[in-house]
């Protein structure tokens, strides 16, 4: 996955290197600018069984700041924010691979370095008994739940994540 580019970033940023679930790494550039979740909208995407994006809706494109063509074919971790502990995504994958529904609060990273919080639900797409992919639907989270996650997630960082945040 490509590193983020300074020319895409709006405002002052900090640089982080993320260790991704597939073993790769990505340099991300992060600002403190939050995009409020738009009322009444759902952000919808689908992936193949490996987590590669196959479909995004208009709200996904608008909130992520990427073009649809930049998203389809990429891994979902293109939205991974360094403030999200890898434990949350491990739990997500462990849950959906068991054929169950995962729900949680996620801080997503935009192309311009900003962020937005969502309440995400991910379910496996089962066709003729086989998992053919996953559907992820995000909706507007409550401020109270987001505040709880802001306090909780740093406690879930593993050692390398803690070191990265200390830099």
């Amino acid at each position: 996955m490509q590193n983020m580019k300074p020319e895409d970033i709006a405002g002052e940023y900090q640089e982080h290197t993320l260790s991704l679930f597939d073993g790769g790494a990505r340099k991300v550039l992060v600002t403190e600018i939050e995009s409020p979740y738009p009322d009444g909208r759902l952000i919808v995407s689908r992936t193949d069984p490996a987590g590669v994006i196959t479909h995004v809706n208009k709200s996904f494109v608008e909130m992520s700041g990427y073009e649809e063509l930049e998203l389809v074919g990429e891994r979902h971790s293109i939205l991974r924010h360094p403030d999200m502990p890898s434990a949350a995504f491990k739990d997500l994958w462990d849950t959906v691979k068991r054929g169950e529904t995962w729900q949680g609060y996620v801080k997503n990273l935009r192309k311009d370095g900003g962020y937005y919080w969502v309440k995400a639900t991910v379910i496996p797409n089962v066709r003729n008994g086989q998992v053919v992919g996953y559907t992820s639907v995000r909706r507007k989270p409550s401020k109270k739940k987001v505040e709880e996650c802001k306090a909780l997630y740093p406690t879930l960082f593993n050692q390398s994540e803690r070191l990265a945040h200390a830099v």
Binding site: D39, T121, I123, V137, R139, S142
Partner: protein, 248 residues
């Protein structure tokens, strides 16, 4: 023995005769006897589905998963350009400017229309409101939901957006929209059951060609539709997956 056709009980009263006209047209087009059975409630309709008494249904999206996955129905068509959206409205004199201004204990008027109710509850979530900390007043129609708000019996109400827009201008002048969904992919659909499945291709053909002649267009007009659009299996499965994510 005639086939049985039914319509999601959330159709607007204005379109009641339209469904009977559609059924008469359909019988002629297919040269089959089809009985139209309308139910007063989703509960009664689901009982008939469970008892395998339904062969063709204009289904609420909330019931699509049960129809496809449990009862072997297949999607046929959806009305062109129509999607189910929900609105949360308050009295025009309410101090609430956004959903987050509504407080636990709030009285919310709603209906038993399952997908609209579900979308409404999702739009209340950002205010940390759910069925455990709000008082729901379940009414028989969206007009009664509006009356509850206007009379001050409820502070907010959940509407099908189309039904809200159809309220009289006097009613709407006493209400204010707090939030409207923009989901775009949740829709009612015509679905065919196993007993009528062998007629699926003929059904699809006559439905999609309704706009080709004046009579067909007139029938559609009585339903408030501009035409039917084919729904394939994967599109239907996608909507069911999406509904599954919203039900948790």
């Amino acid at each position: 023995m005639p086939y049985n056709f039914t319509v999601s009980p959330d159709f607007t009263p204005d379109h009641l005769s339209g469904w009977f006209i559609f059924n008469t047209w359909l019988q002629r087009a297919l040269d089959e006897a089809i009985h139209l059975e309308l139910f007063d409630s989703f509960f009664d309709q689901r009982e008939a589905i469970q008892a395998d008494q339904i062969d063709l249904i204009y289904a609420n999206p909330y019931d699509a998963a049960m129809l496809v996955r449990d009862k072997g129905f297949s999607p046929l068509t959806k009305p062109e350009g129509k999607a189910d959206e929900a609105i949360i409205a308050v009295n025009s004199s309410s101090g609430a400017e956004c959903v987050e201004d509504l407080q636990p204990g709030v009285k919310v008027a709603t209906t038993d229309d399952p997908d609209v109710h579900m979308m409404g509850l999702i739009m209340l979530e950002p205010a940390d409101l759910d069925t455990k900390n709000i008082q729901l007043n379940i009414r028989d129609s969206f007009v009664l939901v509006a009356k509850d708000i206007i009379r001050g019996d409820c502070e907010a109400g959940i509407f099908l957006a189309e039904a809200y827009n159809d309220l009289s201008s006097i009613a709407k002048s006493q209400l204010r929209v707090l939030v409207k969904s923009e989901i775009q992919i949740i829709h009612h659909a015509l679905m065919v059951g196993p007993r009528l499945a062998q007629k699926k291709d003929s059904l699809m053909q006559v439905l999609l060609s309704m706009t080709d002649d004046i009579k067909g267009k007139g029938v559609l007009q009585n339903l408030g539709f501009s035409g039917w659009k084919a729904v394939n299996e994967e599109e239907s499965e996608f909507m069911i997956d999406l509904m599954d994510t919203l039900m948790v």
